[in-house]
């Protein structure tokens, strides 16, 4: 029965090709717009998710706090209040923490041959790579032997490698950082921009011990002090608990009274990015919703054409009834026609949407991600629109009186 209705519907859609095409256009544009818009939104979402990845997932950064000497409060990090021992204590005593890596940082002019480049120098331990989810592209990472022996080895970031070495292979080359010669043992993997636009690849990593002794210097107050500790938490659910425990532990270790402020800062950057992710998600929904409006307009177009078609084909309906079509046969025929219109429009719209989102990512260089569920939803929506907007004209057709319909001029 449905199969027959489909045949009848296809036959009558074929009869008026231009009108069929124009009616489909509305649905095509609607479905295409929904898919293109949602893939733009998903692309933005994917970029944020990638930034979270590049930052290192489940990362809490502990920064040295401000000093408060005799009521004069200096800025964040003005005093190195945290130490390598704090890092070791965090790793040891907070069970949800996977690893805690102390780092100290500074800026220095780096010289290779006749080239020089000012870049960030970070003194790190072997745990750093795990804490920050940072791999080594070429060569080897900094090992605990390097830290213990304060060896003069360095890993260069992609940007730094580009600027210092150009086409030359950096491995085993000698660079001078503050006149101290270092052997390059590895090139870091690419991290890209941080969420605030800083180039994370413009960096040189050296062992923490070497950094303190030879390059960045040692704090007068405490030789063990560091700028920051990167704390990697085992799972995302434990972030809040980890933060609480790390704070409590550090307050205890720093002998802070309940009335005193923290002398360190905890930064949970993935939280910031998760907020960003939320907002891009909202943007995706918004774009999808706006595009859906055009789908709705397409549906109204279908209803309009179907109404015209019912009026135009009144005699045909009368004839079909005279030769034995029941009201529900007529209803099915026109409903199937409307749904066929919207489904074919939907299929072409999907192609259009995929093409459109590719064109956008190519021309505007925006990242787009084709969401399969958006395709399915848009297609289902198109079918639903066909049924919804096709029903009224179809019912109108099925309720015609055969005698009146046959006499209709």
């Amino acid at each position: 029965m449905i199969f027959q209705a489909l045949r009848i519907a296809l036959r009558s859609l074929r009869v008026n090709k231009l009108r069929t095409a124009l009616t489909m256009l509305g649905i095509m544009i609607g479905v295409g717009a929904v898919i293109a818009m949602v893939s733009i939104g998903s692309g933005a979402q994917a970029r944020v998710a990638e930034q979270i990845q590049s930052l290192g997932s489940n990362l809490i950064i502990v920064l040295s706090g401000s000093s408060n000497a005799a009521g004069v409060r200096l800025g964040q990090g003005s005093q190195l209040t945290i130490t390598e021992d704090d890092a070791a204590a965090i790793a040891r005593e907070v069970p949800v923490v996977q690893v805690a890596a102390p780092t100290s940082r500074g800026t220095a002019q780096v010289v290779y041959g006749n080239l020089n480049w000012s870049t960030q120098i970070q003194g790190v331990t072997a745990d750093f790579f795990e804490a920050r989810d940072w791999g080594v592209d070429n060569g080897r990472p900094i090992l605990s032997e390097d830290v213990d022996g304060a060896t003069k080895v360095a890993l260069v970031g992609q940007t730094t490698a580009q600027n210092l070495f150009g086409e030359t292979d950096p491995i085993d080359q000698i660079i001078r950082i503050k006149k101290v010669p270092f052997t390059v043992v590895g090139v870091l993997g690419r991290k890209g921009q941080s969420s605030w636009g800083q180039d994370q690849d413009d960096i040189i990593l050296i062992p923490l011990s070497t950094a303190k002794k030879k390059v960045l210097g040692v704090s007068q107050a405490n030789a063990r002090s560091v700028n920051a500790i990167s704390v990697k938490v085992r799972s995302a659910e434990d972030m809040a608990e980890a933060e609480t425990q790390v704070r409590a532990l550090l307050r205890q270790r720093h002998r802070l009274q309940p009335s005193q402020d923290d002398d360190f800062w905890l930064r949970n950057l993935s939280e910031v990015l998760q907020t960003q992710e939320e907002s891009t998600k909202v943007m995706t929904y918004l774009l999808g919703a706006i595009a859906s409006v055009s789908l709705l307009v397409g549906g109204i177009g279908i209803m309009n054409i179907m109404l015209v078609s019912v009026t135009e084909r009144t005699r045909e309906i009368g004839l079909r009834m005279a030769v034995g079509a029941r009201a529900r046969d007529i209803l099915t025929q026109f409903l199937v026609e409307a749904v066929t219109l919207s489904l074919i429009g939907g299929i072409i719209g999907i192609a259009l949407g995929i093409g459109g989102s590719n064109a956008i990512s190519y021309l505007a260089e925006w990242r787009t991600v084709l969401a399969p569920q958006a395709v399915v939803v848009a297609f289902g929506f198109a079918a639903a629109i066909g049924i919804f907007f096709g029903f009224y004209p179809a019912r109108k057709a099925s309720r015609l009186d055969p005698i009146e319909a046959l006499r209709y001029e």
Binding site: I8, L319, M321, V323, G324, A327, D329
Partner: protein, 245 residues
């Protein structure tokens, strides 16, 4: 036994406060194989009578048996099924689907019954050959002459092997010669056993039927049987020139 029988068939229409008695009780019985012409001026009730015979409408009062079945009180859907299996319609305007081949037009009633596509095709093809259009099954109505279009319509009416053919002014849109050709076809089908009821107001068409019912003011005025004129003989007397064009 009669194939069509009515008893006190009446139909009223309500137009605002007024009631129009379109048909005021018609009792008539038509036997299988009869060729009946229904005549009368406009407003005589002949169209209402035909609509009731065709199961397109339900009577206000009276009874109607079609092929032994009491159909006066059937629902809309039941009437549709009766129309599909028992009645073949031929209209003045042909009422063929445009941009649809002759074969597909003939198949149309079969779409609303239970038959396979192959059966449909075979039966439609056989009927088209019967009306002499076997060569033109893929032609669209716009590619056919008026007479050929009406032949397609007759093939369509025949395709379900109906109990009766109801033809409403089948020659109203055709010239004299083509009209005669259509009547030759209908007479031939009648001789083969088909029951035909034909509405006409053309005095030169009615004599081709063997029984003539005259309606006036919603009543059956006269019911006369007589020798039918042979359409083939009439066709032979017509000048050939009218074939041109």
């Amino acid at each position: 036994m009669a194939i069509l029988a009515t008893e006190g068939l009446a139909k009223d229409y309500h137009l605002g406060p007024h009631t129009v008695h379109a048909l005021r009780g018609v009792t008539v019985s038509i036997d299988p194989g009869e060729f009946v012409a229904v005549m009368g001026p406009s407003g005589s009730g002949k169209s209402t009578f035909m609509n009731l015979l065709g199961c397109l409408d339900r009577p206000t009062a009276g009874r109607y048996w079609l092929d032994g079945q009491d159909v006066a009180r059937l629902s809309r859907d039941e009437l549709a099924a009766v129309r599909n299996s028992k009645i073949g319609f031929v209209f003045q305007q042909f009422n063929l689907l445009a941009r649809t081949s002759a074969l597909e037009n003939v198949e149309l009633p079969l779409l609303y019954g239970s038959s396979t596509p192959r059966e449909r095709r075979e039966r439609a093809r056989a009927r088209l050959q019967e009306v002499g259009l076997g060569e033109r099954e893929h032609h669209h109505p716009s590619q056919l002459s008026g007479g050929q279009q009406q032949r397609v319509a007759i093939a369509r009416a025949l395709v379900n092997d109906p109990a009766v053919i109801l033809a409403d002014e089948p020659t109203g849109n055709l010239d004299t010669r083509t009209s005669a050709e259509i009547m030759v076809l209908l007479q031939r089908l009648n001789r083969e056993g088909l029951t035909i009821v034909l509405v006409t107001h053309e005095p030169d068409i009615a004599p081709f039927a063997s029984r003539r019912l005259l309606f006036r003011d919603g009543r059956l005025m006269t019911d006369q049987r007589g020798e039918a004129q042979d359409a083939a003989a009439v066709l032979a007397t017509l000048p050939e020139e009218e074939l041109v064009g």
